[in-house]
Symmetry: C2
Subunit: 429 residues, 2 copies
């Protein structure tokens, strides 16, 4: 059988499982998730063994140790993965929630209910824990899932999916609801991207190039996630001490994540008071500043690396930050609109009016006022779990929890309601 046939087989199995899974209430879904967690712990040795083969292959291929650490599983990490599954089981079920409802003037009872999306495809990179996290979130929200992880983690993912399927086989959730896309070729991603009608939504999780290739190539609807060129704007009315701490926190607390700051903008009126101190502090924190000429003018020779156009568009994910001086809040907004990724942008200001204007004018998934950009996160927002952070405007924007993995269905209940040109008539009434 060809890889394309293999793909169709698992996609159809997921589709069938989705139809069975969708109407299930919460209890059997939670029981199934707990069975999955138990099985992962019970069969941790198998997982670690399969993972060891992936790790050995990666090492042989010259993969850097930081990447290998992301790939690596041990029994403790498997325990943590199982714990995360139990946490998902404890979350409320979004399915069946009545989003809106009313009795229409003609007596029809109208309800808008949350329902599962159907089959969710997830395309992701190195960390095998995503395999289980994503599957748990999809199952809890009543969706079947088609997983396409990194080829470097294929053995680990195969073991994890097999164990999840085996665990589901003893529950009311159909075991076909969790599927690994077969094969490790580039083409296997293509099958998933063109599976319109079989897959309801694709969520790519990873770097900008992965996400762009999925957005461009997919005929299945896509939710873009996670590219974050986040800004901190220090307003003329900022408390400069607070601004400094927010800037340093947003850049350095965890530089490798999408809600870390990648650019700071300073109002010209406070540039002299803020920029030299910021350059000293950032240098002390090990951060390289890529500044425009005005920023550079506040540093000793060589302290500030000259910023190019690319620097302002860059998601460094490292101890680098771009910087510019702007003449007004409006110029800061224009800079953010031009170079930003519409993830999270922050203003530091004591001015109510400036905060109000910034919030109104910045068109991003999240806007922070006097707070670090690092708070844009499903966990911080109280969602309990997160499948990713959407940077697009359709369907979901910002951190996505369980409700963002659902659609809705309108239900209307009558007693023989007919629509006529003169209004509603009740048949037999």
């Amino acid at each position: 059988m060809s890889e394309a046939d293999d793909f169709l087989k698992v996609a159809r199995a997921a589709r069938e499982a989705a139809a069975e899974l969708a109407p299930l209430p919460r209890s059997p879904k939670d029981a199934a998730l707990r069975a999955v967690a138990d099985a992962l712990v019970a069969r941790a040795k198998e997982i670690v063994e399969a993972n060891a083969l992936d790790v050995a292959a990666a090492r042989e291929g010259g993969t850097p140790e930081t990447m290998i650490d992301r790939l690596r599983l041990d029994e403790k990490r498997v325990d943590a993965i199982a714990g995360a599954v139990r946490e998902v089981a404890d979350l409320p079920d979004p399915v069946g929630e009545v989003v809106r409802g009313s009795t229409l003037p003609n007596g029809l009872e109208l309800r808008q209910l949350r329902v599962p999306l159907g089959v969710v495809g997830i395309i992701y990179e190195g960390r095998p824990n995503v395999t289980v996290d994503a599957a748990a979130l999809c199952l809890k929200s009543g969706n079947a899932v088609l997983l396409r992880g990194s080829s470097s983690a294929y053995r680990s993912n195969t073991a994890l999916v097999q164990i999840m399927q085996d665990a589901l086989a003893g529950t009311e959730v159909p075991s076909g609801a969790v599927q690994l896309v077969p094969g490790t070729s580039r083409e296997s991603v293509g099958h998933l991207m063109r599976a319109r009608g079989l897959v309801d939504v694709l969520i790519p999780r990873g770097g900008a190039s992965l996400i762009n290739s999925v957005v461009e190539g997919s005929t299945v609807p896509v939710i873009e996630t996670g590219v974050g060129n986040c800004h901190v704007y220090v307003d003329e009315d900022a408390d400069l001490g607070v601004a400094m701490e927010i800037l340093v926190n947003a850049k350095t607390q965890r530089p490798s994540v999408c809600n870390a700051a990648e650019t700071f903008l300073v109002h010209a009126k406070v540039a002299e008071a803020f920029v030299p101190a910021a350059l000293a502090r950032l240098a002390a924190e090990g951060v390289t500043v890529h500044g425009d000429e005005r920023v550079a003018s506040y540093g000793a020779s060589g302290v500030v690396v000259p910023a190019t156009e690319e620097d302002f568009s860059e998601e460094y994910l490292s101890l680098d930050i771009a910087a510019a001086v702007v003449d007004s809040l409006e110029d800061a907004v224009a800079h953010i609109r031009r170079y930003g990724s519409a993830h999270t942008d922050a203003i530091v200001t004591r001015s109510q009016s400036a905060a109000r204007r910034f919030v109104a004018l910045v068109d991003s998934a999240a806007v922070a006022v006097n707070a670090s950009t690092r708070f844009t996160d499903g966990g911080e927002f109280g969602f309990g779990a997160e499948i990713g952070i959407s940077t697009q405007k359709l369907h979901a924007r910002g951190p996505m929890g369980l409700p963002e993995l659902t659609s809705t269905k309108w239900v209307y209940i009558g007693e023989g309601h007919l629509r006529t040109s003169a209004g509603t008539v009740i048949a037999g009434g």
Copy 2:
């Protein structure tokens, strides 16, 4: 300048206008809509003259009279179009609505606000009233709009858009917020479909082939609308008199619209009691029944046209209906899943359990219980206006009103909130 350059010019103008329009509160938007309505009435003569050229060209090209009637505008119809704009002005503004909000444990004030999508592209067919309706709904929800109507209505649409832009020029809403895609070639649709980054969403309104071509060819996110292969399922526990009226209403009250019924399914246990009467009644209403063998067995020779696979997939939009006998509610659901378009499907039953199962198992935008499928409509649902009926699962499903033309933005407000590995710290606090 090439058509591609012309397109980019109007798309960029719409993008700029969208940024200006988005933060406007309700009052200036309503005032602008009323100015548009006044201008349409005041300049009705220009509109009717431009339209007369479209009508003459269509007639010369051999367009059937029913299509010409859709295209034709007179002063009375222009008045009605202006009246619809005033009704949109009277509707509540979705922008700024706080969808969710809480104060997080660390004191951050978290709000999810409704914001405009940005630039909305609408691709539609013959009726020039859509030009104004769609523009009014987009402006009210704070969006700029790029309109691409039928080439047969190009002169009418050019006049309508010019008058709307002239009217907006005297208001706080930027006149660039309403744009007609220049040109009538097929390529001009292509420019719109590939304008990712300039256009935030495309909404095709029209027949299945238009919608499929947009879905397949667009790199801009699309909301699919309006293809309706709607079913009426007559359950074994149906009140057969009510079932007959619902079936006839759903098929014949307005056969040309997407929420009209295109197939009916009858439980085998009531087939003998229902099908012969239904065949007689439908024949009397001028409806041709395309039935499976079991349906045909209840009619005299030649009364029932044998149904092909295609008949069950067909959106007739005419006085035709497909029909089949099924052995169970589950078989009815399987038929609907296989052939339906997930628009609206109805069950007629007195059984609470059957209604509950049907609602749970049918995965469509709307499910009707003891009511005609014709009620799936923004007006009937009380939305006040409707931009279309989504048959997809992402973003919006079912009738789309003003809130469905928005996205959301998270705002969080702190007082120096920093995220640390030990929890939140307040800078300077």
